[in-house]
Amino acid sequence: MEMDRFCRLRGRPPAAPSGARARGVLCATLALLAALGVAACGSSSSKTTLTIGDWGAPIDEATQKSYLTPFGAETKTGARFVDAPGEQQARVEAQNKAKKIEWDGLDSVGGGAAYALAAAHDLAPLPAAMKAELERELTPKYVTPWGFAHANLGYVIVCNTAKMTTCPANTTQFFNTKAFPQPRMFGGIEPIEEATEAEVAAGMPISQTAATPVDVKAVIKTLEGLKPAIKVFWQSGEQQVQAMRSGQVDMGIMWSNRAYELAAEGVKVKIVWAQGVYEPSFWTVLAGAPHEQTAFKLLSWIASHPKNQARWAQEVHVSVPNPLALDYIPKSFAVQLADNPVNYNQLAVPNFSWYAQHGTELNTAYENFLRG
């Protein structure tokens, strides 16, 4: 309106022809900008755009192709990613601190971080009907009150068979440095998985880890026995691969996806799932999310599309929760996934609920074990 008035006023008989041309160009430009602005406003008001806290490539790309593009086509919903690899919890806490929640959901946030966010009431509870539906589709073991497990992997033992004739058959043997003195690698980040490995090595059955409080002192004592043989405490998947590839270590605990990537590169390795640790990640919606209901719809859509999950799993080499997804995955690939029952039944699940409450105790003790 104001611009229209500006153009009409300025459109009075010109004092000079060049001035008129300039004003004409100016008015035409302003009219074009106004039209574009109206179009932009119109389009943004008719389409919801979800903001997803994500990991960057290749997860973003797989999520876009397998989930968001088809979901968007069905529901006229857009989505944008904010990459925060390994920092999703910190970024959500920062948004809470600023009292401005900008993200709607988290794609495959790690188990420790997800449970900690849930304990802090930073995740939106699933509506009861939706939770029941998810449990029906995915089975209850994958569903929590605030999301479902997705992008799951195993902590497995990997041996370089060019350097080792015999590989530890399970985690108990991996911790036996007399029988297996070879240099090895172990996790150096969020320690709940490492603590679970230590519990199992000390004799706890894998069926009990998920519900047993972690005895931090006992865990550190077990780890101290292993420490002299650990040459590399890895902090990323790339570092795991690099340490094995370069011959820096002869064996180690690796993420299952990275272990199979290493094997696919041609490095001769043996991969052992026995007494490994299961690490789920989670799709969740943030409490106070700008588009909470649409985000829940996205979660429901993902859970109910096993074929898309199968595609996603094959793109990023990690496991997905819908049991039917395995039907769409070649058998040679399915044996590499943590949710394949053959593998899953050999894995210990960490006690994430305990970790959400007592994380500081374990973190500090592990930090001192690692660097003290």
Binding site: W234, E367, R371
Partner: protein
């Protein structure tokens, strides 16, 4: 047409303040405010002074501080020695080709990305890398320094070399070469001439360069992570863990303030050691 007032190259205080205002605002907003907030947060959030106690009571915190300071000191010595040699050769070389090669040696680490630079050192130091292969070929056995403090120090020296060399080159430019020639002409040995003529003249600049290298070395993060691994304790990794893994911002703030105070103390010591006037002249 003369306006009457004579043009002067020196700005008056008022205009100088106006022109410097944007910079002062940026400095205040992006440097001063965050540092003050960091210090206040470290004292008022979490357990207050207990945050500092947590840093010093933790064996990881104590070891990280000790390793960081020792490594920074060693890196400073090595970077100043190597950078000094490079800078002096560039200063005195007569051949343009030699100068160009030396400048390349100084500047190439600057042109490389931090991650690329560190990964190239990973390749050199890894078990199947050329260093280990050479050592085994010479019958010296296996060399295993990747994921140790030594590997971190090598990476840090490589990164800090340009800072030392460029600063010292500027310092050496202010030294009159004929004084050294005169000393030699009067019978001084090369070493004696360097010790009694060059070093005293360049000392303020050397101390300034050392202070710069030491202060930057205290804050290294990526190099310790990539070359030292999780088990090599450095204070920046310690702070990173408390932010990104433990989400304990108060303890991370306290550790960061300790690091900041240490860096400021080093700069203050350099100031006292050399004297403000000489230091100002040395760094231009």
């Amino acid at each position: 047409m003369n306006s009457g007032a004579a043009w002067r190259p020196v700005l008056g205080n008022r205009w100088a303040l106006v022109l410097a205002a944007p910079l002062l605002l940026v400095l205040g907003g992006l440097v001063l405010y965050p540092l003050v907030k960091l210090t206040v947060d470290s004292l008022t959030t979490g357990s207050g002074l207990g945050n500092y106690a947590a840093v010093f009571e933790s064996s990881a915190g104590r070891r990280s501080l000790a390793t960081t300071f020792v490594a920074a000191a060693l890196v400073t010595l090595a970077a100043i020695a190597l950078g000094g040699l490079l800078a002096w050769y560039i200063r005195t070389a007569r051949s343009a080709t030699v100068k160009a090669v030396l400048w390349l040696a100084v500047l190439v680490p600057f042109w490389m990305g931090t991650v690329v630079k560190n990964y190239s050192i990973v390749l050199l130091l890894s078990a199947e890398g050329p260093l280990n292969q050479l050592s085994q070929t010479l019958g010296l056995g296996s060399v295993s320094i990747l994921y140790t403090s030594t590997a971190v120090a090598i990476g840090m020296v490589y990164t800090m070399l340009p800072y030392a060399a460029l600063t010292l080159y500027g310092v050496f430019l202010t030294v009159d070469e004929t004084l050294l020639a005169a000393a030699r002409g009067m019978g001084a040995s090369r070493l004696y001439a360097v010790r009694t003529v060059l070093l005293p003249l360049a000392l303020p600049g050397i101390v300034a360069a050392a202070a710069l290298v030491f202060a930057i070395s205290l804050g290294f993060y990526i190099t310790p992570v990539l070359l030292g691994g999780a088990q090599t304790p450095f204070i920046a990794s310690f702070i990173g863990d408390y932010i990104f893994t433990f989400f304990d911002f108060p303890v991370a703030s306290a550790a960061a303030v300790v690091l900041l105070v240490a860096a400021l103390a080093v700069l203050a010591a350099a100031l006292v050691l050399v004297g403000r006037g000489r230091l100002a002249r040395a760094v231009g």
